[in-house]
Symmetry: C2
Subunit: 190 residues, 2 copies
Amino acid sequence: MEALKEKIRRQGRVIGDEILKVDSFLNHQVDVPFLMEIGQAFAQRFAGERVDRILTAETSGIAIAVLAAPAFHNVPVVFAKKTASRNMDLTYYESRSKSYTRGQSGSLRVSKAYLPAGERVLILDDFLAEGNALLALADMVKQAGSTLVGAGIVIEKAFQPGGQKVRDAGIRLESLVRIQAMEHGEVVFQ
Amino acid sequence: MEALKEKIRRQGRVIGDEILKVDSFLNHQVDVPFLMEIGQAFAQRFAGERVDRILTAETSGIAIAVLAAPAFHNVPVVFAKKTASRNMDLTYYESRSKSYTRGQSGSLRVSKAYLPAGERVLILDDFLAEGNALLALADMVKQAGSTLVGAGIVIEKAFQPGGQKVRDAGIRLESLVRIQAMEHGEVVFQ
């Protein structure tokens, strides 16, 4: 997606050789019309596939998923939660995950009511690095007895092992941009 | 907002006499077209006011704020963060808050770059109960040297002190529905 590469070149900031900050438009400040374009790009990638539900993980997946929904006939969106709230259902799917940016291990949870069996589910998320969050989401789709259509990722860090792990798991992966390396403060796209 | 009252009557679940679960459409599963209607309702309440930016708090404010943006000429949305990430700017506004549903005290943070001075900022959030998150957001708008247009709340629990605290602070408060009480599993609207 050329517009996304251009946005990353203009607004992204590279920290060290692993961290790309895109918080001016993706995960702190949100550029709503741009994320709607991203949603349309995902819809083009998965054109011809029936999608009944979009699944993502809090926090940074939420804006991406809800702003993509209009391009997917406004199907329901559900975001997996990282912490148990007193408002949460007692019956939920759970899968262990490890957040790359926070360096913590934790669980993702989705109430069973919002991940019914027999659906075709599309996962959307902002980054793919180690792949742990995505594999945890995929595991919950399987637990639910639904079919995973695939995963749409805004930015894949192709120099980290997540993409290979996800493809090896037989998951259709559509990354809008793939970053080969981050060198001397610059992003090198694949 | 009658459609919201009806949605709460049909889909809301009352737990005890203080908790209202609306996770079928608002804060776990997201009903995107309905949240866009909510965004339009906020735009009607604040019609005639210039809004340069929408501010909310993670997690449950994000979907509401980004889906309201189209009704506010797609202004930038920024969501305050609850935890310090290694990706976060070192220069941020911070204000202490206490989450009602999690029973924990914590800080909200916004990078200074995404809360510039001299703007007119609208706060949007899902619930108003104790008012702490909203007052923390308002405090950061003040720290930034911007003007707070007001706060749009989806559901105000009018039997808790937040609404009064916010109005006493001189903040214009527009709640789409106000709940007077929750009795015997039923919601009583004001």
